[in-house]
């Protein structure tokens, strides 16, 4: 499987995203997706489906906290799963557009 991405590893065509593509994108980040990763990815994809925007880090933390419990709604937890910059990395793996304001 060879899905085209830009140099930073974001999908060029978001419609090509599938769970298998996510595995590939994660591998490029040296991340092996476990259930813990997947539940965060689901939260993010649901957020994007509803609001059409990739959330900033602190919003992601809040959303994860609301959906998966306060234990997981912590930046340190997300940092362990998706280092080094969870908002960017989860967006990438979840097949969302690159966050607009990451610069």
């Amino acid at each position: 499987m060879n899905i085209p991405t830009d140099k930073n590893g974001y999908l060029l065509n978001l419609e090509q995203w599938t769970p298998a593509v996510a595995e590939q994108l994660a591998k490029a980040e040296d991340i092996r997706l476990s259930d813990a990763h997947w539940e965060v990815i689901s939260v993010l994809r649901a957020f994007y489906q509803e609001y059409s925007v990739s959330p900033a880090m602190r919003i992601l933390v809040k959303q994860v906290g609301m959906a998966l419990g306060t234990e997981k709604g912590k930046s340190i937890y997300l940092m362990q799963l998706f280092p080094p910059s969870p908002a960017k990395i989860v967006s990438k793996i979840a097949g969302l557009p690159r966050p607009d304001n990451c610069f």
Binding site: Y51, S52, V53, I59, N101
Partner: protein, 127 residues
Amino acid sequence: MKETPTTATPKKILFVNTKAPYGSSLARDALDALLAASAYEQDLSVLFLGEAVFQLLRNQNPKDIGMKSLAATLPVLPMYDITQIYAQESALSTRGLSIDDLVLPVKVLGADEIAALMGSQGAILSF
């Protein structure tokens, strides 16, 4: 991204929207600027004047004109801790709109209240 500045007292900054949602992309750009601004821990508020009240209308489906829905993203504002959301009373009434037609709970303001709101700001970003 540069360090988020921390000031002792947050500055009151008002985002003023005046454009309808899709004819000008300034409407979208104003929303993006507002979301980015929320990271800076200032005292933010947003006002929809004139044509901009159309941004708040429910049931927008701009897929066929190749745009992203503003109505879909606007409800995210409270999550970004932006809760001072205002709309111009006369702009709504002349367009036959009521607050039930809107995707967000807004506070409706008359002319005097708008003048007071603008006058009390430390800065206004006009879109």
